[in-house]
Symmetry: C2
Subunit: 277 residues, 2 copies
């Protein structure tokens, strides 16, 4: 999906919601366990219930990988099911040297070579340029680079000040900025770090930011929008647990829709406030 | 495998060689393509030809993952084949927040829950403590944290000096040191960065280091040993392409053995020189 198409979807759906598919077989409603592929059945119902309210889906690859070949099949089937008007994010946080990164890029981007056809993948920047660039070599595919994450441990290294007065996450943005463009590069910025959005926007005024941490993790959508929204919206705000585990009963998809709708309504207000729609 | 067992294997085999299994279906001898699972057949012959000369195998997970469910099956079968006197490393470079990291740990460590039974996994430190610790919670399993990698891009962030005068890779070692012990934590240090081993050993005198970059990447085994060896050896030196792609003919396993033997002989000399055997 191109940047223009993504912006079009945001304006049409009046939403910049991304739904995380961290589907844990131990947490899904019991009745689904009778199906051949319970994880896929769960995802199917979640997607059917929410795809008009969100602009992106983000399967967390760990939750599929731990089930081996079977999990990979669930992932493939889930990806196939996502409507083409939704941006797809493989939340894999990969990062390795050139030829290995190319293999990961093929795994997630290259349908013709037997891979999946995700629009984007999350990438860890620690290994530098040759670990990020292979993900930027596919038309209309995106690398979403970890900048400032929403977890507690993010402060261990990401906030380290260098001798020029930059924090590591700033250096990551400034450097990677030169490797791609606003059309194939986004950044992960946790919603729990509201105050940091100003700093991020100083270095990346136009890029899209993928923002986890709203909902169960406690980040504020309003803060994120106040400090992080740009004239194209520039935000994909992810919620996972608050949506997909809104209920553990037969009504889980219906409850997921209610939660997604509530977030979509808040997002619509923010988009109106910012004169984007 | 415990640290004591690993040291025992090094002394018994007179080797600290790790063989990388970055098995690319496009590079293996053509005659293997007639088999149902060519990647597994290739790995099988490589393992049979080298397992008395090396102490570890390191499948690069990207090379399996890009083939989806089929690739995951090749990986599982390959892992099952590795003799129990060889340390196994899932070169996956994973790094994600707590509950996701736990899922990855299950995928690679937890045989009883349907995962693989690797001894260790490579881990990216960017997301901090809660992304590393879940890998340290399994008995006799190891996290191998990226410190200073062998690729060109490693200088982009890993050498950044902080305000205390530490480079980022030093800070990673100093901080992570407190999260585990010498019995469940190793570091990745590229052989191409010979001069840096002194700095690494200042911060981690006793830890094992996993050292890629000897062979095709041009690192010197002698430099690595001069600056990096400790009294328990403390090194696992990896070679991949120079061994597994030594020949692309029917004699590939035989040639792989010749290359592995040449490295084992050099390693034996270094172990004797250091009075370890």
């Amino acid at each position: 999906m191109t940047r223009a198409e993504l912006i079009h979807e945001i304006k049409t759906k009046r939403s910049f919601l991304c739904v995380g598919l961290d589907t844990d077989i131990a947490k899904i409603p019991e009745f689904l366990l009778d199906y051949e592929d319970p994880v896929y059945e769960f995802n199917k119902r979640i997607i059917e219930a929410t795809s008009d309210l969100c602009v992106a889906y983000k399967p967390n690859i760990a939750f599929y990988e731990y089930r081996g070949a079977e999990g990979w099949n669930s992932l493939q089937k889930t990806w196939s099911l996502i409507p083409s008007n939704c941006f797809t994010i493989a939340d894999a946080k990969r990062g390795d040297i050139g030829n290995t990164a190319s293999m990961y890029a093929r795994a997630f981007f290259d349908e013709e070579q037997g891979g999946l056809g995700f629009d984007s993948i999350t990438v860890a920047p620690y290994m530098g340029e040759d670990s990020v660039k292979p993900f930027l070599e596919f038309d209309n595919k995106w690398a979403i680079v970890l900048a400032l994450t929403s977890n507690q441990g993010s402060a261990d290294f990401q906030n380290t000040l260098d001798q020029d007065g930059y924090q590591l996450f700033e250096k990551v943005i400034v450097k990677t900025n030169g490797w791609g463009t606003e059309k194939n590069l986004m950044y992960v910025v946790g919603a729990t770090r509201g105050e940091a959005f100003k700093t991020i926007r100083k270095h990346a005024p136009n890029h899209f930011l993928l923002v986890p941490g709203v909902g169960a993790q406690g980040g504020s959508l309003e803060d994120v929008c106040n400090y992080g929204m740009n004239e194209d919206c520039g935000l994909l705000v992810n919620a996972t647990r608050s949506i997909i585990y809104a209920s553990d009963g037969k009504d889980f998809a219906e409850k997921a829709r209610e939660e997604a709708l509530a977030l979509q309504k808040q997002m619509e207000s923010e988009l109106i406030k910012a004169n984007i729609i």
